[in-house]
Symmetry: C2
Subunit: 314 residues, 2 copies
Amino acid sequence: MKKAIGIDFGGTSVKPGVVLDGKIVEFAERIPTRSHEGAESLLAAVLGAVEELRAKHPEVCALGAGLPGIVDSVQGRVGELTNVPGWKDVCLTKLLEERTGLPAAIDNDANAMTYAEWLYGAGRDAVNVVCVTLGTGVGGGLILDGKLFRGSQLGAGEIGQMTIDPHGVRGHYGNFGALEKYVGNNQIGERAQQLYREAGLTKSSEECDPLALQNAADGGDAIARKVWAEVGFNLGITLCDIVWLLNPDRIVLGGGVARAGEYVFGPIRELIRERTMRIFHERLEIVPAALGNDAGIIGSAALALEKATAAARA
Amino acid sequence: MKKAIGIDFGGTSVKPGVVLDGKIVEFAERIPTRSHEGAESLLAAVLGAVEELRAKHPEVCALGAGLPGIVDSVQGRVGELTNVPGWKDVCLTKLLEERTGLPAAIDNDANAMTYAEWLYGAGRDAVNVVCVTLGTGVGGGLILDGKLFRGSQLGAGEIGQMTIDPHGVRGHYGNFGALEKYVGNNQIGERAQQLYREAGLTKSSEECDPLALQNAADGGDAIARKVWAEVGFNLGITLCDIVWLLNPDRIVLGGGVARAGEYVFGPIRELIRERTMRIFHERLEIVPAALGNDAGIIGSAALALEKATAAARA
């Protein structure tokens, strides 16, 4: 097996690591996004970390990066990057290749996570996998017929923008009543605060973050359980539609919300069983992601290796 | 190019034809489904028609059939067939091959239509195509990355079962508030009758079928136009979700409802423009199907040829 470096560009930090056979064998120090004044300064720090990793692992033969938002993985271009002012239409693949001499690949972070979970995690051995990433935003990725599916403009997998209520409020990306507006971390917290308030209780937003709500549910808190059941219902509605449309054999849910376990997975499974035909759900597995925060690094390294191998073959 | 026979199994009749290069060069007489007492009698009539076609076109080298419902195209098995009592788990591919000596293939009728529109019709030259068939029921098919996508249990493309209203009434296949329950021919007719009634007008169901409503809309009838706008809105909501999920470059709408033209296509285009990001809609074409009722024969013939060619290559 070959070593590659994966770089996970997040909203708060950039995390590079060396990957061998689906495992991170060396992490570089996290690079806080906001500590840099612009794209050039951030990229210099990232490249410095890459050089340090390569000094320890000279056999590294490819370099991949996963980034939030719309990423043009074919042209290798990234229009903008959250929390990085001055990042404007960066030809990232070319820049990485020129500055490191390694073959490079970039992709959307949800695609990197999906690819990692499919090759090495909770999506293993499945043919059609739907991955959902649950956090402040809700994203997703698709493995279809055993290949990462990107869509005509490389935008596929925007599960968080699918409609829960056609007459709901308008979301950040234009759709009305989009899933993200119901199951994003902030919306879950606000909904919990609202239900507590209606019950005469005042809770801080910290007391209503996913982890706190999971603990509350574990402790028997009826309101926390109700919040999770609602989240499960809303996720279930969207997943139901995806099941009717794509007939997948595996659904993988990652991110903080997925850690709420059966409080969320239970209602989802029940809803899909109730609302789809048996042939669609009897062999469908709905499972939590297995690679956690490492998925971005592992997936972008794997995508870079795959691209380098395909290029060498051609 | 090679000749193949395509057989379109419909709810009311079975239509066989000889296809050359995406065109039907000879039709057999339609075989009314209800005129036969059971599966054996119907199949004998179909095989008789096939023999007549082959006598005129001895160079026919493959045989395909498109059927409604869940069709196991891999095992070649069809569980049941609408309006044909006694049809129970027929191993149709094997039966067709044994009785004709030709290589045979079977598929879902929406997949056959999708494949035909993609190869020879309104989906031509696109890479990711979403086809919707609008009639009493609402079905669909998907071309993804230039291949027919069938899903893990060969059930993919059930666009008519996707959710419009999570709290709506339950449909035939188990989902609540499914698209089919809003834009199926009967539902459109009932909605029109309801709106006319509210306006103090009594209309028969014949006066509210898709063609009559299209003529009424052409004549300036405000109620007919309102009905079509609602159909467009509901179709648009589901298509919007498919656009966010799959980022296709072509959407093809077929069947009676699609013939209402801009009364339906206008609202769909507007809604998708309004509710998705520019990158998802600026190059997306939303077009009516081009092959009409011939698509089933053409598509099943093409699928049979493709399968025979792949088998010869292997």
